[in-house]
């Protein structure tokens, strides 16, 4: 990647040599799957992003478009899957303009694996690449070090074992589109319910030969939060304001300072055990 800068690298290396731990990036402790069927391929993902044990995003997008007919599901470091996918998407588009041909899945695969191999695993992207092109429909998986696999079905991420158990017990040759969609969404659900790193909704993308790829964003939403017991709207004035300032106004009332008189205050002790 041309644009990467290593300017802060030495500073951070120094910091870590002094015993400062490097903060963790949001990783998509994820379930992603892909499955081929008669005449196409489908990929699916859950929508939970985590930072340690905390859910950072309840409805994130893990299905990325590389080209109109080539999509990719990403697990691992969230920023890496997003950025590596965008980069290869650009390069694929330039390549298909240059060659005046439809982009091929194996081209995306090669671009991705060579890029990841170059960075020897430091770019933490684990991908399932799928799509249709003039040579047929394809399904691959790529690991962060650059190795790739081919198969009729693939699973990746922390929920990959839960998802794989669905494929290993129910997959068969010559699935229909509907069967493949059901199998993939069931595999993702196996991850959602049984793997703590995965959760929320199912995203699904169907790529059929000779048709536009269809993204089913939030194909299933089995985890909508139910109504809370209370609503917590506060009385206006519950928060004590010391100073108010209008810093921008279309009515040309810029920078007027209003000092609000403090309302009756409850005397505040340092720490009271109520």
């Amino acid at each position: 990647m041309a644009g990467l800068s290593f300017e802060n690298y030495q500073r951070n290396q120094f910091l870590s040599s002094k015993g400062y731990a490097v903060p963790k990036a949001t990783s998509t402790g994820t379930t992603i799957v892909g499955c081929k069927f008669n005449g196409g391929v489908v990929i699916a993902a859950d929508t939970r992003a985590t930072a340690g044990p905390i859910v950072a995003d309840k409805n994130c997008e893990k299905l990325h478009r590389i080209a109109p007919h080539i999509w990719c599901a990403g697990a691992g470091t969230a920023a890496d899957t997003e950025m590596v996918t965008q980069l290869i998407s650009s390069n694929i588009e330039l390549h298909s303009l240059y060659t005046n041909r439809e982009p091929r899945v194996c081209t995306a695969l090669t671009l991705l694996k060579q890029h990841l191999f170059k960075y020897s695993g430091h770019i933490g992207a684990y991908l399932i690449v799928a799509g249709t092109d003039p040579t047929g429909s394809h399904l691959f998986s790529i690991h962060a070090h650059g190795s790739t696999d081919i198969g009729y079905y693939q699973t990746l991420g922390s929920g990959s074992l839960a998802a794989m158990s669905v494929f290993e017990s129910r997959w068969k040759l010559d699935l229909t589109k509907e069967e493949a969609m059901k199998l993939c969404s069931d595999a993702i659900q196996a991850g959602i319910w049984n793997d703590l790193g995965s959760g929320s909704n199912v995203d699904l993308c169907v790529m059929e030969a000779g048709k536009d790829a269809v993204l089913h964003r939030n194909y299933l939403t089995p985890n909508v939060r139910s109504q809370k017991a209370n609503n917590y709207i506060f009385n206006r004035g519950a928060t004590v304001v010391l100073k108010e300032k209008t810093i921008y106004s279309k009515l040309e009332l810029v920078s007027e300072e209003v000092i609000i008189s403090t309302p009756e205050e409850r005397p505040e002790a340092m720490e009271v055990d109520a």
Binding site: N12, A79, E82, Y232, F234, K245, K250
Partner: protein
């Protein structure tokens, strides 16, 4: 004490979306581990009237990144002859952080603003290497992240009027930072509507 660059200086921020409005708030503490150093360290910056950025994390990187983004948004203004929109700015933040993938700035930013074309409020947060977390309710950052998630998840209601949103975000921030040793020492809230931005300084505990 914690040996982590992003929690040496402490500090927290939160943003929430209301009905045609949004609020973004932060505490004012800058410390060195458990020692409080400054009670006047604002972590919210603005680049034009409708784009606000909260930067939590390592103090030196907060200051540096503010200058980087001031520089970049000024150049954008000269080239485009208009101010940057929040969505565009979010992508600028993302790519600026990812550029430093292998030597990151130790920050967790939140972008908030109202799109001047559509009038839609927009917020999102990032991790330290630029992964965007788009959200339609609230975004949190800083050393009181856990506490803020707990507060926001229980207090937040969609479609609040500006003044109700102000109370909700203030209570969320105040009670969260009171349970975090590295945040507090004052707080500010920016209430952003389509044609007015108000900044309020809150009364907080000083311990």
């Amino acid at each position: 004490m914690s040996q982590d660059p992003s929690s040496i200086n402490g500090g927290s921020a939160v943003a929430m979306i209301g009905k045609d409005c949004l609020a973004i708030a932060c505490d004012l503490r800058l410390g060195s581990q458990s020692l409080g150093v400054s009670n006047d360290f604002e972590k919210i910056f603005n680049y034009g009237p409708n784009v606000f950025l909260a930067l939590c994390g390592l103090g030196t990187d907060v200051i540096t990144l503010n200058e980087v983004f001031r520089y970049k948004t000024n150049l954008y203004k000269y080239k485009e002859e208009r101010t940057i929109e929040p969505e565009t700015f979010a992508n600028l933040v993302s790519s600026s952080l990812y550029e430093r993938r292998f030597g990151p700035y130790f920050v967790s930013p939140i972008v908030g603003g109202i799109n001047s074309k559509t009038g839609k409020p927009f917020i999102c947060s990032f991790d330290l290497i630029g992964c965007i977390d788009f959200t339609k309710d609230f975004a949190v950052a800083g050393t009181a992240t856990d506490q803020l998630y707990g507060m926001c998840e229980s207090l937040y209601e969609p479609n609040l009027e500006p003044e109700d949103l102000f109370e909700t975000i203030s209570q969320a921030l105040l009670n969260a930072v009171d349970r975090d040793a590295l945040s507090g020492w004052g707080a500010v809230v920016y209430l952003i509507t389509k044609d007015k931005v108000v900044k309020r300084l809150l009364k907080t505990r000083q311990d």
